[in-house]
Structure formats: structure tokens, C-alpha cells
Amino acid sequence: MIVVKFIIFSALSVAVGLLFMGIGRKYTARIHRRYGPPFWQSYIDVIKLFSKKSISHNWVMDFGIMMGLAGILGTIAFVPIAGHTVVDSMQGNIIIILYFMTIGYLGMAMGVSASGNPNATIGIARALTMMLGYEIPFVIVVVSLIFVNKSSLLADFVASQSGGILHWNIVRYPLAYIVGQISLQAMLGEKPFDAMVAPSEIASGPMVELSGKMMGLGFVQHAAQIFLETALIVDLFLGGASTIWVFVLKQFVVFLIALSFNAVFPRFRFEDVVKWFWRWPFAISIIQLLLVIL
């Protein structure tokens, strides 16, 4: 039973994530006054990549790429999506989710740096440094929500927001939502926080040495990651949803907000990202925390 559910959720998350990526490309193109590819382009890309030849440098690279995808798919199993969770007994334990996610990051980092290309490793070093920047405000926000709800279960967070838009955390704790949305921008690696991929500086960073099937797995991982991270924001701030359609719609809105910023901003240097996050979102999150506990 749990296996069937897991397969359904994984397939759903990848499909939705790829759809988001496709629509996102079109959306960004229109903001840039280009025509843009069709919205099903991402599906074509993945199928194409899996059918091409690929290279690998050693077994650690293969293992790392697999671990990257496994970490993200495994985390989705713990997140309540429209009232369903693959692992029901955990009810979306937020601390386990935050830590399980890092299996994916670690796997991807290990796989690409095993390739021996310095561009990939520079990208990872940047990503990890920025992670220290955006995780701290995000965690402070999560901690303040845990304080309000007296529970660290996402299921309880969602339950406490039921009953109309006025009960959503975005309305009750707007400052927390702002920090969450900004952190999401950095988690997704969208501009202005995309120093780790930076195509013009370090040749797309982590992706530089991926080809064919490996790149396809990386693509699938990114799609699942979009689904996972937007789902977290929806569960934390937008009250979850009762049906899967509404849930995906809310995720899409969250994703579009991130994309809109992505389309118009230039890139920050990554140490400036850390400093910026430790200044503004950190201050906002501390204010939110003080408002909650006082």
C-alpha cells in the first residue's frame, strides 16, 4: 500500500514539477518579450535526455546523483499534500522533513563534485554558503509557527488554518510569510539568489558535468524539488488544501511569485546573499518571533 502511494506521489510530484518548469519558461519569456518554448517542453527535454548517451567519471558520481533524487522523493513522502501523506504515522514532522531534504542536497553535491570539475564544486560551495544564509530566517519562522501551534507536525499546522482565508498563516503572520517566500526564492535557486548555477560565470555550476541520463535525473530532481518546496510553503502559510487541484493551484501561485522576481532581477554575489539574509529577512523573522512569544 505504502509502495503504491509512494509511486503515485513521486510520479505526481515529478509531473507537476515539470509542468511548472515548462509554464515557468513560457512565463519568463513573455516578461522578457520573447515567444518562449511550449509549456510541454520540459517533458520533451526529460524524454530526450534519457534517450541520449551519457558519461560518468566514477561510481560515486552515479551513486550521488541517485541519492540526490532519492532524498527529494523520500521527503515528499512525509509532506501532507491535500490531506494525504505517504507515511501517515509521521503526519509531516517538520524537523524530519527539513533534515531528510538534505539527503537530496548532499547526494547531488557529492555526485557532481565527484566528477572532478572545479566549476561544479565552486557551485556547490556557493550553494552551501547561501544555505547558511537563508536557512536561519526560515527556521526562525518555522520555530515561531511551532510555538503558535504547540506542535511540530505539518498536519497540525494545516488543521489550524482551516476555515477560510482569514485563518491562513499568510493573513495571521504576514511577516513570516514574507520571509518564507524570500527563502523559497533562494531554495529554488532563482534570481537574485542563483549564484550557484550562474551559467555565465561557472558554466551552470553543478550541472556542468552532467549529460544524457544523468542530466535527466538532475532535471527530474529539480522538478520534484520545486514541488516539494512550494508544497512546504503552501502547507505552512496558505492553509494546505482539501483537493489536490486546489493544492497544485496554490503551489503554482507561489511558484509564479518566485518566477516573477526571477525574471527581472540581476544576480547577487553569494556572500552578499548571506549578508543580506542575515540582515533583512533575519530581522523580519526575529520581529515575527517576538510578536509570537510576547
Binding site: V3, M66, L69, L73, G74, T121, I136, L153, E209
Partner: protein, 629 residues
């Protein structure tokens, strides 16, 4: 039985020393066998909580000195796990020391140290504890510095801080004896006596607690004593570092759980203390010391380029987590803290064993001079990988269970800022752990290391055992948490509810087996996706994307393509104006002391005149004092 095994230990140490320089393997095999025997003795003592031994030594001025041993739940737990882990590490030492020159003294002293380790945990009175503590200090000092120049300097930090702590403890022990209503060396009685003394003089109780804490904190390298591990753990013999970092640094926290925690709990129960969310103010301040230790250790680890020093800073950070949780004084906090101590002992000794294996083959410690060893040393790589996954607190390895409990403790006790500090340290841990993984095992293999092979099989045995332990302790935390529950119950608190695989807290429940199953399932799914599509082709390490240039044309070597030196340079720059490593201050103190002592000794050395003046001056002072007295 305890004294018998300690006597056997001393005899074996003597035998190991007189065997001579030739049969090195025999000496270290005897060491392993002794540790196996000690583990068995401790295992057979499990459950005999009324077991005690007492030996009258002598009495001096009305004070009766005696050796007392007892099996308490806390002491047994620590004694058993430390001896067992020491046994696993010693298997590594058998092969590693075949090529060493100075191993004779190391082996004999380490055997004594293993005995002192057991005596510290099983001591029932302060005198026995202090004797064992001193034996532990000087044996470990000479193991860290078997006549090597760098390690001598490093060991002096360790030794001086330990001395400072030990003397503070000695003063506190005599103070306990001097208080009429306490007047005992027995540990349990002195706690209850001191707690009753709170109503008479809170100040002296706090000062006694602080004197003990000086001893415990300097041993466990809690802020502001945090610099010594990065010196001593790094310069110690490679096979001793796992023991030093995994086990010895925990004595201080053991002391905290042994003495300070029950004292604070008793004071809280008597209702005479100011509390914040149910935690006494002093304990809350001490929890902040732990949190600061965690953050400072993490940031210094991120800036470090030496792999053993990096691991040592990581140890400091982990001690910080455990200390913070323990000082929260709730069942969750104590369980999480003690569990983290055990988990850290396992994964950090495995990390250090993997580093020792790397150094055994490459003789390098600077991380940027290594690289690409994963394919050459796969078992060492896997050990290190599982170790860092555990250290980062990622499920399903053992580190996550205790970190989860620590978070639950801090959140349940409503300390948002402490939670944030621990989270900062924990996120920073990914940075330095990945950096070590990359710089040593991933990336490009330097040409001069192309002949490196995996370590011999005997050295791999501890790695297999360690990997197994890390996974099993993560999936079935209940087996370790049940004895910890006994310790918490012995402190008079309600133990945390656990089953073999599930942990319950006020805020949520976690099912380790479900987490592990999901891990396996998602891995299987990724593997299936990996099998789809065309087979991959293997290419040479140097055959990477270089924007169309041929690396050979520019004379690019593998070493140049290995991005490892100054890995987090922009990040380090952010902290360049903040002094986090207090080594500088300690060096200043050392320098000033030296200047002063040289001036002082100069008076005697070079001038008879000066010496005469001092001598006459001293005589005059004594005479005047005699008149006045």
C-alpha cells in the same frame, strides 16, 4: 570484581611495557583482548544496581581515605559504551602501530588510561573519582606527546587547562568536606547535602557548582575553553584521536550529569531558585554557554583546512549541542543530550578512524593536498560518508535521532533562541562536513597519490563495525534509549516514552523504522530510474568540461583542477574581524607568564646581589610576621 579488573589492567600495562620493542602486534593484541575482557566484565555487571566495593586506604588527621566503587545506571552506561568503543578502535591500532616507532609507551599508557576511564565512571566517592581523573589526565598527556615537537605544544594547552580544572575540582571537593552539614566524600550524599545547604547559603552552593563546572567544562572544551581540542586532537597519534575525540572529551559532560544536574534538580524541587520556563537561571546561562560553543565550533570548523583540526572543531560543536540539551534539565533534554554523547562517540570515532586511514596511506593532513580518494579507498570513503551523514543529523543514521530529541527538548521547553542557535550550528555543519568529504575523497586525484590503496583488512574491521553501529543505532534508537530512560528515572524524572523504533515527545512522534523504510524505498525508485535509458560511458578524470580548451595544452594537472584550498574564502572573510579562536588569548597569557617568570628567575640566575636582596627581604618579612603574630 571492579578492583580486580583494574588490577589486571595495571598488570597488563606493565606486561605490555616490558615485552620489549620487537613483538608490536602482540602488545596491541593484548590491549585489544584486555578491552574485550573489560567490556565483558561490565556487561556481566549490568542490572546489579546495588553492587558496591569499598577498600579502606588510610586515615589522616581524622579524614578516612578509601576507594569506593559502585554500579550506577549512569556510570555503567558510560563505562560500558566507552570501553566497547575503545575496543573497536584498538583493532585499528593493531595494524596501524606496526610501522610506528614510539608505540611502546603509547600502548602501556593507553592501557592505564582504559583502566582510569572505567574507574572514573564507576567511582562512588570524590577521592576515587579524583585519583582516576588525575591518572586519566597525565596518561593522556604523555600519549598525545610521545616526544614530538608539535604535539608537545598542543598537549600543553590540554594539560594546563586540565590542571586548572582539576585544581578547581579539588578545591570544591575539600569545600564539600568542610561544610559541616555535608561533610562527606560520597557523591550521592554530597549532592543531597549540598542541596539542603542551599537554604543556608546559596552563594557558596553556586560557587561550588562553578568550581566543579570549571573542571568539567575545561575537560569538555565548552566555551571559553574551546581551543584545546583543535590542538590536542589534531596533533595526537592518529589512532588515539578517535579515543580522544569520541570518548575522553565526554568526561566533563559525564561529570555534569553526575553532579550538577541532580544538584540543580534538587534545588528546583526545594523551590528556592529563580527559574525561566522551569529552568534555574544559572542552568539557563550554562545552556547558552553550550549554544555558543556549538556556533563557534562550527564557524571555526568551516574556516579550517587541516582535516584533523576540522574534525576536532566539529567535536567542540557537538559537545555544545549535548551541553545545551543537558542544561535544559527536562527528561527530553537529558535523554537527547546523553544520547547525543553516545552517538557522537560512535560517529566521531569513525570519522577519525577514516582520517587516520587516509593519513596512514597518504601521510597528508592538509585537505587541499588530497582528493579523489573515494575510488582508491572505497571502504574508508563509505565510513567517512556515513559518519558525516550521522554528524549532520540526516536520517536514518544515528545522529538524527539525538538531534531530533534535542530540538524537541528546546522547543518543548520554549527556548526559541537556543533552538535557533543550535540550528545555525547544525546548518553550518553541512558546510564543513561536505568540504571535508569533497577535499579528501571527491574531486581530482593528485598524481602523486595514484598508487594509494585501501588500508589492510584488520584496519577495515572497525570501520565495518562502526558503519553497522551507526545504521542500527539510527533505525533502532530504542535499544540505547531504554537504558538512558533508566538514568533519567534515577534522577527522579519521568523518562521519555520510547519503543524500539519510535520516539515520543510532547510535540510530535517519530518512527525511525518508517523513516528508514522510506529512505530505502526512495533509493530503490531512484535506482529504477537510473537503470532506464542508455548505458553510461566511463571517462577519465581529466576529461571534463573546460570550455573547449585542451587542458594538456596549458599544462593543467589534476592538482590544479582540484578546488579545495580556501573553499569558503568569502565566508571566512565575513568573520575576519571577529576573534572566535581564543587560542590567541591563551597564548598571550602564556607569553606574559613566561616574561614574568624569566624576569623572576633572572634575579637568581645572573645576579647574586638580587638574590641576596630577595633572601634578606623574605627573612625580614618572616621576622615581622613572627612579631605581629
Amino acid at each position: 570484581m571492579i578492583l580486580t579488573s583494574l588490577t589486571i589492567t595495571v598488570v597488563v600495562a606493565f606486561v605490555a611495557a616490558v615485552i620489549g620493542t620487537k613483538p608490536k602486534w602482540l602488545r596491541w593484541t593484548i590491549f585489544s583482548a584486555l578491552l574485550a575482557y573489560l567490556s565483558w566484565v561490565l556487561w556481566s555487571l549490568y542490572g546489579r544496581w546495588d553492587y558496591a566495593e569499598s577498600y579502606r586506604l588510610f586515615s589522616l588527621g581524622g579524614v578516612k581515605f578509601s576507594l569506593n566503587f559502585a554500579i550506577t545506571k549512569l556510570g555503567w552506561f558510560f563505562a560500558f559504551f566507552t570501553t566497547l568503543i575503545n575496543f573497536v578502535i584498538s583493532i585499528f591500532s593493531i595494524r596501524k602501530n606496526l610501522a610506528e616507532r614510539d608505540e611502546l609507551g603509547i600502548c602501556a599508557l593507553w592501557i592505564l588510561l582504559a583502566g582510569a576511564n572505567m574507574a572514573i565512571f564507576l567511582a562512588a566517592d570524590w577521592i576515587t573519582l579524583f585519583i582516576a581523573w588525575e591518572v586519566m589526565t597525565w596518561t593522556s598527556y604523555f600519549i598525545i606527546t610521545p616526544g614530538w615537537k608539535n604535539s608537545f605544544r598542543a598537549a600543553n594547552y590540554y594539560f594546563l587547562l586540565s590542571m586548572l580544572g582539576a585544581y578547581a575540582m579539588l578545591v570544591a571537593i575539600w569545600w564539600l568536606w568542610a561544610i559541616p552539614s555535608v561533610h562527606t566524600f560520597n557523591i550521592a550524599q554530597s549532592i543531597s547535602g549540598l542541596a539542603n545547604y542551599w537554604s543556608v547559603s546559596p552563594t557558596s552552593v553556586v560557587i561550588i557548582a562553578i568550581l566543579f563546572l570549571l573542571g568539567f567544562f575545561s575537560k569538555s572544551s565548552v566555551f571559553p575553553f574551546h581551543p584545546w581540542p583543535s590542538e590536542a586532537h589534531a596533533e595526537a597519534p592518529d589512532d588515539f584521536s578517535p579515543y580522544l575525540s569520541g570518548i575522553m572529551i565526554k568526561y566533563g559532560l559525564y561529570g555534569v550529569v553526575l553532579f550538577v544536574v541532580p544538584l540543580f534538580l534538587a534545588i528546583v524541587r526545594s523551590g528556592g531558585a529563580h527559574t525561566i520556563n522551569g529552568v534555574p537561571v544559572i542552568s539557563y546561562v550554562l545552556a547558552w554557554f553550550g549554544a555558543i560553543t556549538a556556533v563557534i565550533g562550527t564557524i571555526l570548523a568551516i574556516m579550517e583546512n587541516d582535516m584533523k583540526r576540522l574534525a576536532a572543531w566539529s567535536t567542540v560543536a557537538n559537545i555544545g549541542y549535548a551541553a545545551t540539551a543537558i542544561f535544559i534539565l527536562t527528561p527530553l533534554g537529558l535523554t537527547g543530550g546523553i544520547f547525543h554523547i553516545v552517538n557522537h562517540a560512535v560517529f566521531k570515532s569513525m570519522i577519525f578512524v577514516a582520517l587516520a586511514a587516509v593519513k596512514f596511506r597518504t601521510h597528508e593532513r592538509q585537505m587541499h593536498r588530497l582528493g579523489g580518494l573515494a575510488t582508491k579507498m572505497p571502504i574508508t570513503f563509505l565510513t567517512f560518508l556515513l559518519g558525516i551523514i550521522a554528524a549532520a543529523g540526516i536520517p536514518p543514521m544515528n545522529g538524527y535521532a539525538s538531534k531530533w530529541l534535542i530540538y524537541q527538548a528546546l522547543l518543548a521547553a520554549k527556548f526559541p533562541f537556543l533552538t535557533t542557535m543550535i540550528f545555525i550550528a547544525s546548518t553550518g555543519a553541512f558546510m564543513y562536513l561536505f568540504r571535508a568529504l569533497h577535499s579528501i575523497f571527491l574531486g581530482q586525484l593528485p598524481e602523486r597519490l595514484s598508487g594509494v590503496r585501501e588500508v589492510p583488512f584488520i584496519m577495515q574491521i572497525p570501520m565495518y563495525l562502526g558503519m553497522l553501529a551507526m545504521i542500527l543505532m539510527g533505525v533502532f534508537p530504542g535499544y540505547i534509549l531504554k537504558p538512558i530512560g533508566g538514568i533519567v528515572a534515577a534522577l527522579g524524572l519521568e523518562p521519555v516514552k520510547v519503543t524500539t523504533t519510535k520516539m515520543f515527545s510532547v510535540l510530535s512522534v517519530v518512527d525511525s523504522l518508517a523513516v528508514y523504510n522510506m529512505f530505502a524505498l526512495s533509493f530503490a525508485a531512484a535506482f529504477v530510474l537510473y537503470l532506464i535509458g542508455k548505458a553510461r560511458r566511463k571517462v577519465a578524470p581529466l576529461d571534463t568540461y573546460t570550455a573547449g580548451q585542451n587542458p594538456a595544452d596549458f599544462g593543467v594537472t589534476t592538482e590544479m583542477l582540484h578546488f579545495a584550498y580556501k573553499f569558503y574564502a568569502p565566508f571566512s572573510k565575513m568573520f575576519k574581524n571577529i576573534r572566535l579562536n581564543y587560542k590567541v588569548y591563551y597564548d598571550d597569557i602564556a607569553k606574559n607568564t613566561q616574561v614574568f617568570s624569566e624576569w623572576f628567575s633572572g634575579i637568581f640566575k645572573f645576579s647574586t646581589m638580587g638574590a641576596t636582596i630577595w633572601f634578606v627581604g623574605a627573612i625580614v618579612i618572616i621576622i615581622i610576621a613572627g612579631w605581629l603574630g
